[in-house]
């Protein structure tokens, strides 16, 4: 095993040409002149390499990083950051305009499952076709054929054209072939994740079986920080085609969240005060990570600002943390009886410290209530404010985390003893 990096990317860049820039013709004569010159000009324009043209657009530029053998490297960035372009370059689907990349080992890229499947061909035929396209030898496919079929659970439909398959069967078969690939470098896009839950678990087991100790190198693209953090040790962060950072996943994710967070305005709730009625003028979250992302198990603060032009009798402020189904999961309250407030007109600032957020990973919002004493008026209910995401990537668990496993994660201590 050599110590040289298995993937070396050196100042890789790719330019595209945007649509032809429209020249404004000053006069009719200019237009005519241009038309006469056009054939040659247009020809020249057409065949000029995109990078040399004035309207060149660099989808990615100056990308440099190394990937070590056996490493799982993540590629993160917002939409349009250039992730797909970079994947295409490294999969050799398109050629770079500049720079260089060196891949030492058999490469398989899975930007889609079932590439080359033909609806008219039977399952059996498609296994061979797809395998060949993915770079498997016929003997290799033959050897694994039974495993693939058994894996996809399509035995009885093996000789049926795949156009008659249900979409689930189709995807299972496509994935089965991909799962039996044994490259040294695997380039995976998110779209690989398909199928129903039980089938997925099977895929995972399979991948585990075939991955040998030689160290399969994986280059993995995702929008999902949860996935990225679970899988990768290092990440490349792209933004507008440039590389912002390459380094340990946690650092890169923080930077990514800051990048994403910087653009969203609705993370903080604000409202103008009213002259005749108490009003919540600000709700803000202090999450453990930037961009309203909260790590499970870490502290969080909720800041609420109350503006009242008149005294409130027994003011009560409370809030729920609700999941995406708007089901309340957590409840916090602050009553005048315990923390005197709003007995005179003015602005009040409330801070709720949550020492350990135990919410399970997922998306949540707050529902904030402002009321009088029990049985009194309800001044205000704010629904769906301060959306935040709970992530688990700080917490390691064998097998990773699955969404919707539960809603709440309590600490617990186990004791195991052998009784017989």
């Amino acid at each position: 095993m050599s110590s040289a990096p298995i993937i070396t990317v050196d100042r890789l860049g790719k330019a595209y040409t945007l649509g032809h820039t429209v020249d404004r013709h000053a006069t009719f004569r200019d237009a005519l002149m241009n038309m006469a010159k056009a054939p040659i000009e247009r020809w020249r324009h057409r065949f000029a390499p995109p990078e040399s043209r004035s309207d060149a657009f660099w989808a990615v530029k100056d990308i440099s990083f190394d990937v070590q053998r056996g490493e799982v490297m993540g590629l993160v960035g917002r939409n349009g950051a250039g992730k797909s372009t970079l994947l295409k370059l490294l999969s050799r689907i398109t050629e770079p305009s500049e720079g260089r990349a060196r891949l030492r080992g058999r490469v398989a890229s899975l930007l889609e499952v079932g590439t080359g499947f033909h609806p008219e061909l039977t399952g059996r035929e498609n296994i061979f076709m797809n395998g060949a396209i993915l770079g498997m030898k016929r003997t290799e496919i033959k050897r694994k054929f039974d495993q693939i079929v058994g894996f996809a659970e399509i035995d009885e439909f093996l000789d049926t054209p795949v156009k008659h398959y249900s979409s689930g069967m189709y995807v299972r078969l496509a994935f089965a072939v991909a799962a039996h690939l044994e490259p040294e470098i695997l380039i995976v896009d998110e779209v690989l994740a398909v199928g129903d839950a039980s089938f997925q678990k099977k895929c995972l087991g399979k991948m585990k079986d075939v991955a040998s100790g030689e160290g399969r190198t994986v280059l993995f693209v995702s929008h999902n920080m949860q996935a990225v953090s679970t899988l990768t040790q290092r990440c490349v962060l792209l933004n507008r085609g440039r590389m912002l950072n390459v380094g340990p996943t946690s650092d890169v994710i923080n930077e990514y969240l800051r990048l994403v967070g910087g653009t969203s305005q609705d993370q903080v709730y604000t409202a103008a005060p009213l002259a005749d009625k108490p009003k919540i003028t600000r709700v803000e979250l202090m999450t453990s990570e930037p961009g309203n992302v909260q790590m499970n198990g870490k502290p969080m603060e909720v800041h609420i600002e109350l503006n009242t032009p008149l005294p409130i009798d027994g003011a009560r402020i409370s809030f729920h943390a609700c999941n995406t189904m708007q089901e309340p999961i957590l409840y916090f309250w602050c009553h005048d009886t315990e923390h005197p407030m709003a007995r005179q007109p003015g602005v009040y600032h409330l801070v709720c410290q949550i020492p350990k957020v135990r919410l399970f990973m997922g998306d949540y919002t707050l529902r904030v209530h402002l009321k009088e004493k029990a049985g009194g008026r309800e001044f205000e209910v704010l629904e769906g404010v301060c959306p935040f995401e709970v992530v688990m990537y700080g917490r390691d668990r064998e097998g990773g985390w699955f969404k919707n496993t539960c809603t709440y994660l309590e600490d617990g201590q186990w004791q195991v003893s052998k009784v017989s």
Binding site: G70, V113, A227
Partner: protein, 332 residues
């Protein structure tokens, strides 16, 4: 085709996490756990990198030669592509593979009725009267190959662009497979020609041994045209409409139905030197039928034109193809 994005549903991502997570776990495991179940002779060597593949990705400039090593290494894929084309072509047809036989026979009958009987060419084949059906069938062999190369080969890249945008493999195989499929048709039609020839009382001459060389020459034309047109079609979709027209014109100027010498009009025949395909068609007639040159329309100069023209077409075809291949995905 499977739409990847549509399948990106919510519960999916954590599962993917687990895939890669498990991969990561295994990287620290020992090498020895590679076992191939149910396989009598587990070839462990498949799991070990026999040679270190190295791929360099960088912009290419100027004339790029063919990557022969890569083409040879993945030749199986070419067979699979040809095989798929053949499989798919006759699916859901009552006659099925029968069309391979029926198509050329129908063509031959059509030509025989129009040119042989109605236009009276049968009687002009001095000494070979009533053999016009074989005569035209022989010319149709190379012509059909070439025509398929123009039509299917020309559209092949555009038709397969979805696949080409998702995965890399030697793209040259796509138009090559189209020609490969036509080659299979040709071999079947060839058998029919032989049967028909025997039935019509033709005797073969030793010239028939030149056939393999002639087949190569025909392939050179077909491949060259397929590479050139498939690449051009990617860039200029005009060719989608131009190709049927080109193919029609080529058929007339290649004199598939009869050589100009047969109808006695020889004033413009020097122009034929500029159509290498004519040389190919005439050579097939000469080679398979053994007719005198006045009937087959053969001339060594036409053959020379066919060889030079074919070589040029192939060179230009590969060149244009390779130039287009670089940015194929971006312009398709």
């Amino acid at each position: 085709m499977l739409n990847g994005q549509a399948s990106l549903s919510e519960p999916v991502v954590p599962a993917l996490c687990e895939v890669v997570y498990n991969l990561r776990c295994d990287m620290s495991a020992s090498v020895t756990n590679v076992t191939v179940a149910d396989s009598p002779a587990p070839s462990v060597s498949d799991n070990l990198p026999e040679t270190v593949h190295e791929t360099i990705i960088e912009p290419t400039t100027g004339w790029m030669g063919l990557n022969w090593r890569e083409l040879i290494a993945s030749r199986e894929l070419l067979y699979f592509l040809i095989w798929r084309d053949l499989k798919v072509r006759y699916k859901q047809a009552i006659l099925g593979v029968g069309w391979v036989v029926v198509q050329p026979v129908l063509n031959m009958i059509l030509f025989t009725v129009i040119f042989g009987s109605a236009a009276g060419l049968n009687s002009r084949l001095k000494g070979h009267e009533n053999q016009y059906s074989v005569f035209v069938f022989v010319a149709l062999l190379p012509w059909q190959l070439f025509a398929t190369a123009l039509n299917s080969g020309g559209m092949s890249l555009v038709n397969q662009q979805n696949m080409l945008k998702k995965i890399y493999f030697p793209r040259l195989f796509v138009p090559t497979a189209a020609v490969g499929g036509a080659l299979v048709d040709l071999s079947i039609a060839f058998v029919i020609v032989l049967i028909l020839a025997v039935f019509k009382g033709l005797t073969f001459t030793p010239l028939i041994f030149w056939l393999p060389a002639l087949l190569l020459l025909t392939l050179m034309h077909a491949l060259g045209a397929a590479y050139l047109l498939s690449a051009l079609t990617v860039r200029y979709r005009d060719f989608r409409f131009l190709i049927p027209f080109i193919s029609q014109v080529m058929m007339y100027v290649s004199f598939v139905a009869f050589p100009p010498s047969l109808v006695g009009n020889t004033k413009w025949k020097w122009l034929l030197l500029f159509n290498p395909m004519y040389g190919v068609v005439a050579s097939w007639r000469k080679c398979l039928l053994g007719f005198p040159d006045s009937l087959s329309g053969f001339d060594v100069r036409y053959l020379a034109s066919a060889i030079i023209g074919g070589a040029l077409l192939l060179l230009v075809g590969v060149y244009v193809f390779r130039r287009t291949e670089r940015n194929f995905v971006d312009i398709a």
